[in-house]
């Protein structure tokens, strides 16, 4: 049994997005003929750090990780690099650490920008907006929020965010938060959400009030959201190609672990796109919606 072993670590398997990511890592590892040690950060930087430490003791040959928090996981990743274990980061890039083998990602800030731009394109004459943010303090929530504001803040006059609340990335909360927003502010033109779950929650709230023409934007391109986009219920969702990211990262890591093949590019950035009704075929997980 001298198969190579790699660690695949994601921030939280409580979110379908990361479940998909780990599944893709698993599939690619199998395709490459290497063993995979799975790690679920359980939404805690210390848990993800501990997992890396345990993997180092077990002398894994490479690490593929989507860090929960780029700052808080930097020391653990640095430790891995020091121990001579190649590290490929996915999705979120750790800046401060020297010697990371490669990063494969689609910036959440860019994703947020894309989401807002899609909305702007749909309402060239301005719009009244709701904005549902992710879990306060969580990395993706911060970045996506930043992206949305990067686009909308300069256009304040035309695009008014009349209602901006967190719904903690959760569908049930998005539903109640949107209900309150609708009661307080009337019908908006569009609702921008930091993930698909919240978009689907907002959708239920609008449906209950028969506001079927509110354009709702999600993020992550989950199969469920893709169906809703197809059916014209959601206006769009941001695709970051997590599967492609994951597979590329595993390929790079395994190639290096096997025979020190340096990656062609140290930085693979996939541009996030907004999936609408017209470009559904670009979505990575469309095949899961059958």
């Amino acid at each position: 049994e001298d198969k190579l072993t790699i660690l695949g670590s994601v921030p939280s398997l409580g979110f379908p997005f990361f479940v998909h990511m780990l599944n893709e890592i698993k599939a690619e590892a199998q395709a490459q003929g290497v063993n995979l040690t799975e790690s679920d950060g359980q939404n805690s930087a210390t848990k993800q750090t501990a997992d890396i430490e345990a993997a180092l003791v077990q002398k894994v040959n490479a690490i593929v990780i989507s860090p929960l928090d780029v700052n808080a996981l930097a020391p653990a990743i640095e430790e891995a690099v020091k121990a001579g274990v190649p590290v490929v980061t996915i999705d979120r890039r750790v800046d401060g650490v020297q010697g990371i083998l490669a990063h494969v990602g689609a910036d959440n800030v860019k994703g947020g920008e894309a989401e807002a731009q899609a909305m702007v394109a749909a309402f060239p004459n301005g719009a009244k907006l709701f904005h549902l943010q992710g879990q306060p303090g969580a990395g993706p929530a911060i970045d996506r929020n930043k992206g949305v504001h990067n686009v909308l803040d300069p256009l304040k006059d035309k695009y008014q965010i009349v209602y901006e609340q967190t719904a903690n990335f959760a569908r049930a909360e998005a539903l109640t938060v949107t209900e309150a927003g609708l009661a307080a502010n009337g019908k908006p033109d569009a609702i921008i959400c930091a993930n698909d779950d919240m978009a689907l929650g907002a959708l239920e709230a609008c449906a209950a009030r028969n506001f079927s023409d509110v354009k709702i934007y999600g993020f992550d391109a989950l199969p469920e959201a893709l169906v809703a986009v197809r059916d014209g219920k959601l206006a769009g969702t941001v695709e970051q190609f997590p599967g492609k990211q994951s597979r590329t990262a595993v390929q790079i890591a395994v190639a290096y672990a096997k025979d020190k093949t340096e990656p062609k590019e140290k930085l693979v950035l996939l541009t996030p796109i907004v999936i609408g009704k017209d470009n559904l075929d670009k979505a990575e997980r469309l095949n899961e919606t059958k």
């Binding site: 398997l13 409580g14 979110f15 379908p16 479940v19 943010q133 306060p136 009349v162 209602y163 901006e164 609340q165 967190t166 959760a170 569908r171 049930a172 539903l175 109640t176 938060v177 209900e179 309150a180 927003g181 009661a183 307080a184 779950d197 689907l200 929650g201 959708l203 239920e204 449906a207 209950a208 199969p223 469920e224 893709l226 169906v227 809703a228 059916d231 219920k233 899961e288 919606t289």
Partner: protein
């Protein structure tokens, strides 16, 4: 003591009692007034019905939690159990774990809403019963058993659904979450009926008396011939039943059962019960109080969102008001006593 004296005293006691039980209600009324002044549309019927619908999920669980806390127990597993029951309901409703994602399923191959409801409440009650047995037989404190349950049920839920949601129920099932009877949301009606039933059970039946007695002094209850262990198991069955019912309503409402549903609900639910004046040491409390407690939390959240208060500030305000509401209640009770 003369008869006149005694009567005036009884009158005094009655007014005192009224005031006492109205502590949280006064606080709730004050909140409503404040929010209405800040933004009059707050008391639009639409918004008020929104609130009733919103509190119905945690409210249902809080009803069951009232029984548990009355026996001086606690159940931390309700949030996870809700997710678990919701997933079970979804599997039954859709006839499998295949994630048929269409949000407007009509012809399903599942077993329909009634089977889903039944499955949710039966699984909830069974899970509660298992925890009750661990508490009474293994003599492990409720806090520990249900803390274990919290992680076990979450793990089971994630395992069933492989982390993802199961979505798309038929219209008959969705009615339980989104339907209206007149202007009143169905979940609110379910909650109201459940609350009235619970009130009757606790206040007017021998079972209710036994629950209070066990919480007041378990040893004395045993020596008075009550089957303490059975009663303890029963309250966990009840809270499990309500977690199942709440799960069904939530799934119907969201048109989806999620593996991450209900995270942190245990604290909201316990807050509702405690704000309502039920003592964590058992033996004291009422369903009416719990309803008021749940309403208070619902009004607070809705009102702050209504005024678009930043979520950071919301956390701070909600935490402080929670403490103040209970402090006010204590203060009122201590005034009335002297």
């Amino acid at each position: 003591m003369s008869i006149a004296e005694e009567q005036s005293q009884r009158g005094g006691v009655t007014i005192a009692r009224l005031l006492m039980s109205f502590g949280p209600l006064l606080f709730l009324a004050a909140l409503v007034v404040v929010f209405t002044v800040l933004k009059p549309s707050f008391i639009d019927p639409i918004n008020l019905f929104n609130i009733t619908r919103q509190i119905s999920i945690t409210g249902l669980i809080a009803l069951g939690m009232t029984f548990v806390i009355l026996t001086a127990g606690i159940d931390l597993s309700v949030g996870s159990l809700l997710a678990f029951c919701g997933m079970v309901a979804a599997v039954v409703a859709k006839g499998g774990t295949a994630n048929t994602l269409s949000l407007s399923t009509s012809g399903t191959q599942g077993f329909g809403w009634f089977a889903a409801l039944l499955a949710a409440v039966v699984v909830g009650a069974l899970a509660g019963g298992v925890q009750g047995f661990a508490i009474t037989r293994l003599k492990v404190p409720p806090f520990v058993v249900t803390l274990g349950g919290l992680t076990v049920f979450r793990g089971l839920t994630l395992t069933i659904s492989n982390g993802g949601p199961i979505s798309g129920f038929d219209a008959s099932m969705r009615w339980f979450g989104t339907g209206l009877i007149g202007p009143v949301p169905v979940p609110a009606i379910i909650f109201a009926i459940a609350a009235i039933l619970c009130h009757i059970v606790l206040r007017y039946t021998r079972y209710g008396r036994a629950v209070y007695a066990v919480g007041g002094n378990a040893e004395a209850a045993r020596l008075s011939g009550l089957r303490v262990d059975r009663i303890l198991v029963s309250v966990y069955v009840i809270v499990g039943f309500f977690a199942g019912l709440a799960a069904f309503v939530l799934s119907a409402r969201l048109n989806s059962s999620e593996a991450v549903a209900g995270i942190g609900y245990e604290l909201t639910v316990i807050s509702a019960v405690v704000i309502g004046g039920t003592s964590l040491f058992g033996g004291i409390g009422s369903v009416g109080g719990t309803v008021v407690g749940a309403a208070l939390i619902g009004v607070l959240q809705n009102g702050l969102q209504f005024n678009n208060v930043s979520s950071y500030t919301q956390s701070i305000v909600i935490g402080l008001i929670l403490i103040l509401a209970v402090a006010f209640d204590r203060w009122l009770k201590s005034r009335v006593r002297r």
